[in-house]
């Protein structure tokens, strides 16, 4: 019997999970005009778009990302809330080589409220649980990071200070952060607060306790409340123990504003899932309200052990030249009746083929070969 790969199994699970919450599948075109991506290059996090000219000479791009297309095209209406999921391939050039990356993802666009936001994070957690129960989902909040940076950075600081601080935070780099703060007139107290935020650890509850002491401004407190609400909703589904706070998770402030998150499995070297709230991207396309979503890199799932098929085929059947096609076909039908896979070869075994058993058909009938 053929076993489903981890990827196939997970995909089915994801689809029924999202369908169960009323998300509609969204199927889209593989190409978009290059302009769409150029205008939002930073959202894509780099210059890795694959382009070509179409028959009319327009510069087109192979879709490097699905979210942009969805935000551009989703029809929500004034008070609407659109819930969509997709299963698509995206194309990126990674280290000079063109890569196809299969993705599953989900987007919720329009009049977002606390519930809608929590639902998306919950679906992220439950997606990870479908693949491996020992996952971790880390949460961060750009509103909190942004508020602490606003408090820390003096008005006359160099314009790229914020960007450089975000880089240090993203690296969990305390020595770099302190040196940078010292160099641009940020008080030692603010620097320590940023370092503490970046290094928050332990269980979600422990980290939340420390975070409460760091969120002094109203903007930060608002972010804190959102995180607490989300954690509460996840606790209902027993996902709370897999939740962590990690403020080294920072995304571009031009696009992301609220909660952001990443999902990890122990066996994978990079994150499997990433997502967040990106109202500012939605606003660039003239949308009121907000948007939140996540994507899962399905390509990584092939690295998960799963059960390897030990053999290429259950049975290798060879036959003598005098056997008629009909005789061989009858033998195959009989041998495969119990679900075994049968590979037929006129001569010996093909190089490298691993089989469980081998038989030969001749005028003497079927014989088992050693």
């Amino acid at each position: 019997m053929i076993k489903r790969t981890k990827e196939e199994e997970a995909l089915l699970g994801f689809r029924s999970l999202y369908h169960g919450y009323g998300y509609k599948r969204y199927k889209m075109s593989t190409f978009e005009e290059y302009d769409l991506y150029v205008a939002n290059k930073r959202f894509l996090g780099g210059d890795n778009i694959v382009t070509f000219s179409d028959a009319g000479g327009r510069l087109m791009a192979l879709r490097p990302d699905v979210t942009l297309s969805i935000v551009k095209n989703a029809v929500t209406g004034a008070d609407g809330l659109e819930k969509l999921y997709y299963h698509e391939t995206v194309y990126r050039s990674v280290g000079g080589a063109l890569k196809e990356i299969p993705q599953v993802g989900l987007e919720c666009i329009g009049q977002l409220d606390g519930y809608a936001m929590g639902e998306v994070v919950l679906l992220a957690a439950r997606s990870l649980a479908l693949v491996d129960e020992n996952y971790l989902l880390t949460l961060s909040h750009m509103g909190i990071v942004s508020a602490l940076l606003d408090e820390a950075i003096p008005a006359d600081a160099h314009p790229d200070t914020r960007e450089r601080l975000l880089t240090c935070i993203g690296e969990k780099n305390p020595h770099g952060l302190r040196a940078l703060c010292g160099g641009c007139g940020i008080s030692a107290e603010s620097a320590e607060r940023l370092a503490a935020l970046m290094q928050l650890g332990g269980s979600f509850a422990e980290a939340l306790e420390v975070l409460r002491g760091l969120c002094l401004s109203e903007a930060a407190a608002q972010g804190l409340r959102e995180l607490e609400e989300i954690a509460g909703m996840l606790a209902l589904h027993d996902c709370a123990s897999r939740l962590r706070l990690d403020f080294s998770l920072v995304n571009d402030l031009q696009y992301y504003n609220g909660v952001i998150f990443k999902g990890y499995l122990r066996q994978l070297p990079t994150e499997l899932l990433s997502g967040g709230r990106y109202d500012r991207l939605a606003q660039r396309f003239g949308r009121d309200g907000g948007a939140i979503g996540f994507a899962i890199n399905l390509g990584l799932l092939e690295r998960l052990g799963g059960e390897e098929n030990e053999y290429d085929v259950d049975l290798l059947l060879t036959y003598a030249p005098e056997c008629t096609p009909m005789a061989v076909a009858e033998a195959v039908r009989a041998l495969s009746a119990d679900g075994r896979s049968v590979r037929v070869q006129p001569m010996g075994a093909p190089l490298g083929l691993k089989y469980r058993a081998r038989m030969n058909l001749s005028e003497r009938g079927l014989e088992v070969n050693a």
Binding site: L136, K172, N173, H175, G201, G202, Y264, P269, T270
Partner: protein
């Protein structure tokens, strides 16, 4: 049995110094220093597995999760920008990335500057910041030769004491960034073993 912590150390003098720090911090594995052809060394008692790799490869092992943590020079981290956490500055292997030229060389800003280096990304970023047009010459060693033979105007390279430069009649003309060895961690390993890795970091920088 608990899972061993995989640690990639850079081969060479710096690696030996760094290993001594790990041993002092409570993560010894005496076999590491034996002169053998073995590649991997384990000490199950303290839960560590060390391996020696080429210094410029440490970040690759860590980024891809073959090692949970490792020690790499800041030069490598700046050049390859691997997606890893930089947990601590170990304050060893200190030197600096600098621009050097032949003694008495005059920068003619009318011309494209020819820069020879092992670190093309660092060199490019440095001159892009100054909006200076350069021609990059990527070499793999003996960088000092390039200006001597007139192939380049300057070099961008690591300078420790400046002796090699001096012996070749070169001198540093501009510092780019200070370099030292950094403790780096795989991002996923860190999420799953944060308490353990934080404890190790604290023991190392104590």
């Amino acid at each position: 049995m608990r899972e061993l912590l995989n640690i990639a150390l850079p081969k060479g003098r710096l690696g030996e110094k760094v290993y001594a720090r790990f041993a002092e911090a409570g993560y010894p594995c005496p076999a590491v220093l034996e002169n053998s052809r073995k590649l991997i060394f384990e000490n199950e008692e303290v839960g560590v597995r060390y391996f020696w790799v080429k210094p410029s490869d440490v970040a690759i092992y860590v980024e891809r999760g073959a090692a949970d943590i490792g020690v790499a020079g800041k030069d490598i981290l700046l050049e390859y920008a691997p997606a890893v956490y930089e947990l601590a500055d170990l304050d060893v292997g200190k030197c600096r990335m600098a621009v050097a030229a032949k003694k008495g060389w005059r920068d003619n800003t009318e011309r494209t500057l020819r820069v020879a280096t092992k670190f093309p990304n660092i060199a490019r970023a440095h001159y892009a910041q100054k909006s200076r047009e350069i021609e990059l010459i990527h070499l793999n060693g003996s960088i000092e030769l390039a200006p001597i033979l007139g192939m380049s105007d300057v070099i961008v390279d690591i300078v420790e004491t400046g002796t090699t430069l001096l012996e070749n009649n070169l001198e540093p003309i501009e510092d780019i960034v200070p370099i030292s060895a950094r403790l780096i961690a795989n991002r996923v390993s860190y999420q799953f073993a944060q308490a353990q890795l934080d404890a190790l970091r604290d023991a190392l920088v104590r």
